[in-house]
């Protein structure tokens, strides 16, 4: 081959690579475009109205005269709903992930995986529709019954575990005979039963005045965040490796002890990343909260009251943009961009955190 042709070929290769790099960076620089354009429209709001009212005032009257832009209730609503979603998604998700990675045999796992995939695939508007049309009327009409059933489902397993552990402790202290066990376990069991029964009775008297409230949204968001939590934390649990498990078994630990004392601590950072990703899913979700949260921009009373309607950042953006002036850009228009910027900044930080955590855990496990 002549040197000219070879040079031409090298030049061609370089050009091709340059083109590939350009396309790649174009798609990644989209992130900067998003940051820039959201910030560009958010800055006028902060310039005009300042930070103080936006973050500390509880008065949200964007169409009033004078307009008030206290977004505190909206931030609170987002936080409350996300907190509820975490409470639903994290215990369930981690338990399911443990079950998938360590407990279920391979052929059963193959039937469970599609369940998670379908849960992840269902469009958010379908979840929102379910929350608004099916779940909200149910909550409104049979709120007490649903709450007490929920109490049974949540408290039942927890107290059953507690009874076993406590009973064991008591027996251990008195170097227990079989007879003592026959007394201790039933007593504790009945006490636990009475406790749950009491709580459920209390809850069944609750009347929910509106089915579109924080509880409804939290449950649905929790279900939506489940697939993320399950699949990411299952990956983390799998990554802990066979050797750790076998070492633990060899020391005489049962499966539960192996998982709780060895596997979960070893993969805790991956699980943390899973939780963070689940939180991001819940915070960024729009349709469900817009349709089923009630959209009332005031702080629930007391602040943890899940049975009152709330309003979130995403729902405010989606709902108010139709009324805000698109073209000239009033403060009402820019405040939505300010909210979007808060969302964006938060998700960026969370994302970075999860990325760092995952990277560090990989290094720790030597992979």
């Amino acid at each position: 081959m002549s040197s000219a042709a070879s040079r031409r070929q090298r030049f061609g290769t370089l050009l091709g690579q340059g083109f590939l790099f350009l396309v790649t960076s174009l798609s990644t620089f989209a992130v900067f475009f998003i940051f820039y354009f959201i910030l560009k429209d958010a800055v006028p709001f902060f310039k005009e109205e300042g930070f103080r009212e936006f973050f500390t005032s509880a008065h949200w009257y964007p169409s009033g005269h004078p307009a008030e832009f206290g977004a505190l209730p909206i931030f609170m609503g987002t936080g409350l709903v996300t907190l509820g979603a975490i409470v639903v998604a994290v215990p369930l998700g981690i338990a399911a992930a443990v079950c998938l990675s360590d407990l279920l045999p391979f052929h059963v796992r193959q039937f469970v995986k599609p369940v998670i995939e379908v849960l992840a695939a269902i469009p958010s508007v379908a979840y929102g529709f379910f929350a608004l049309v099916v779940f909200a009327p149910l909550l409104q009409n049979h709120g007490g019954a649903i709450l007490s059933a929920g109490a049974w489902i949540i408290l039942g397993p927890i107290l059953a575990l507690l009874v076993t552990v406590l009973g064991d402790l008591v027996l251990g202290r008195f170097s227990g005979s079989k007879k003592l066990g026959a007394v201790v376990f039933p007593t504790l069991g009945i006490l636990a039963f009475l406790l749950i029964h009491h709580v459920a009775r209390q809850l069944s008297g609750v009347e929910i005045s509106s089915g579109t409230n924080a509880l409804n949204v939290s449950v649905i968001l929790g279900i939506m965040a489940l697939p993320t939590v399950v699949s990411v934390s299952e990956d983390a649990l799998q990554a802990a490796g066979r050797e750790l498990r076998e070492g633990s078994y060899a020391l005489g630990a049962t499966r539960a002890e192996t998982i709780i004392k060895t596997i979960i601590p070893a993969s805790i950072s991956g699980i943390l990343a899973a939780v963070i990703l689940g939180v991001m899913r819940a915070i960024g979700e729009t349709m469900v909260v817009w349709m089923a949260s009630g959209n009332a921009a005031r702080i629930p009373d007391p602040w943890y009251n899940m049975l009152q309607p709330v309003r979130t950042l995403t729902a405010t953006i989606a709902g108010d943009m139709g009324e805000a002036d698109h073209i000239t850009g009033s403060a009402r228009f820019h405040v939505l961009f300010a909210m979007a910027f808060c969302l964006l900044a938060f998700s960026f930080i969370m994302n970075l955190a999860s990325e760092i955590i995952v990277r560090r855990s990989r290094k720790k496990l030597g992979k």
């Binding site: 798609s27 998700g93 369940v115 695939a121 469009p123 049309v133 397993p157 709780i260 960024g284």
Partner: protein
């Protein structure tokens, strides 16, 4: 701890895990069951004579002869109703003024209820609104409306402590001893002859345009809009995503730049979907003006950004899964790098790339938030392909939201809402099923 307790705890622990899985499966079932069950009723239901009339007059479908014969029988069954209404009206004219006034309002309510139930009264002027030109097209709605004619609803606030209670009062009590009294039992007994419910399979629900904002007809504009948006998004996202994946896997040397690029991609994946919507509005519409108003083009561009990270990641995975030996063999035969990629690596990783593409298609089809400000309108005709560059479109996800929150007759069109959700979920799940099957075949191939 004692050994028995440890064993017990071990079992309890497994039980907890199984409960978690069971709760997940039950949640999925509880969510899908009403959507599938009631959604299928948009397609398969008992249609009344009015449904066949809508089909014939609005869509030119069905046998006109047969309809006319049936309509004649139905008219005969309905004639006594109109007769009784007429009789009562003339009876009212002979009444004392005060008595007449007392009857007037309840009578108007009954008359209106009958119009809603059976359609306009023959011989009267045709109403302008399409929904008033026909009676109830579905048997389930017919029964609801019949109940409304037979009973009036009143809120009872007599107990100041409790919330108001809804009380139903039979309307027949109001007309005791008048010529309208026999109307109510007649309606109740002869409703089947007057409406002729018949099992109907209305598969055209997907391909019919909607009439009078979804009171009649199907959801074609929405389905088509969703197709346009999804395919448009793929048009932009696939080339960019696959090229980026090729670069990241085959050309880029691991280093600062690449890890920076990767962080950018994962950040893009984490951006909330509503922020994509705002960005689409601020950039595509307000800054570079891809179109004058919302348009399918702007929506597709926004959606393509949203699914880009998914496509890049899944394509990367697929390319990395190609055995090294393939590449080494090709390079050993003297093929260049680009040649190797095009003729060996891409074909081998194509099924994997396609799987990722199909999954992100499902995602694009179901996303609502990014298209609210960039592409979606509530009412619109199906678009021609060139109109997508400048026109907004109705789309399934947006119209589901719109119909169940902002429509003026939310309860009347529950079946349309469920039908839309069912269609959307079916589209998305079918795409995912295809992806799952494809993945199963790939893993079989790689193993075998």
């Amino acid at each position: 701890m004692r050994l028995e307790t440890r064993k017990l705890l071990d079992k309890a622990f497994s039980g907890l895990g199984l409960i978690a899985i069971a709760v997940m499966a039950v949640a999925l079932l509880l969510i899908l069951a009403p959507i599938i069950w009631r959604g299928s009723k948009a397609f398969v239901f008992k249609g009344t004579i009015e449904h066949r009339r809508v089909m014939l007059e609005q869509f030119g479908r069905g046998n006109a002869e047969k309809y006319r014969a049936e309509a004649a029988e139905v008219a005969a069954a309905r004639a006594p109703v109109y007769q009784m209404l007429n009789d009562f009206e003339s009876e009212m004219k002979g009444m004392e003024r005060s008595e007449r006034r007392a009857y007037k309002k309840p009578f108007r309510e009954v008359e209106k209820g009958i119009k809603v139930l059976l359609g306009p009264i023959p011989g009267e002027r045709m109403p302008v609104l399409l929904r008033q030109q026909y009676g109830q097209t579905r048997w389930d709605r017919t029964l609801v409306k019949l109940h409304e004619v037979l009973y009036s609803e009143e809120w009872d606030y007599s107990n100041p402590e409790a919330m108001g209670v809804l009380v139903e009062k039979p309307r027949i009590d109001l007309f005791k001893g008048t010529k309208l009294e026999p109307l109510f039992p007649y309606l109740e007994d002869h409703i089947e002859e007057m409406m002729r419910p018949k099992q109907t399979f209305y598969w055209q629900f997907i391909t019919d345009t909607s009439k009078d904002s979804h009171i009649f007809g199907g959801i074609w504009p929405e389905v088509l809009g969703t197709l346009y948006l999804t395919l448009g998004a793929m048009l932009f996202a696939i080339p960019m995503g696959v090229v980026a994946a090729i670069y990241l896997c085959e050309y880029a040397k691991e280093g600062r730049v690449v890890s920076f690029l990767r962080i950018c991609i994962s950040t893009l994946a984490g951006v909330p979907s509503i922020v994509f919507g705002l960005f689409g509005l601020a950039f595509f519409l307000n800054t570079i003006h891809v179109s004058d108003s919302k348009s399918v083009l702007a929506g597709s561009l926004t959606l393509s950004l949203l699914i880009l990270p998914t496509i890049i990641r899944s394509s990367e995975e697929a390319i990395l899964a190609v055995p090294r030996t393939y590449k080494e063999a090709a390079l050993g035969l003297g093929a260049g790098r680009w040649h190797t990629i095009m003729s060996v690596i891409l074909p081998a990783s194509l099924p994997g790339i396609l799987t990722g593409i199909v999954i992100s298609m499902g995602r694009a089809a179901g996303e609502t938030a990014p298209i609210i400000f960039t592409a979606a309108v509530s009412v619109g005709a199906p678009l021609k392909i060139w109109e997508t560059l400048s026109q907004p479109t109705p789309a399934l996800p947006w119209n589901i939201y719109n119909l169940c929150t902002e429509h003026e007759a939310v309860d009347e069109i529950r079946h349309v809402q469920y039908g839309m959700v069912f269609t959307l979920v079916a589209i998305v799940l079918l795409l995912n099923l295809a992806a799952i099957l494809m993945r199963a075949r790939i893993s079989k191939k790689l193993r075998g």
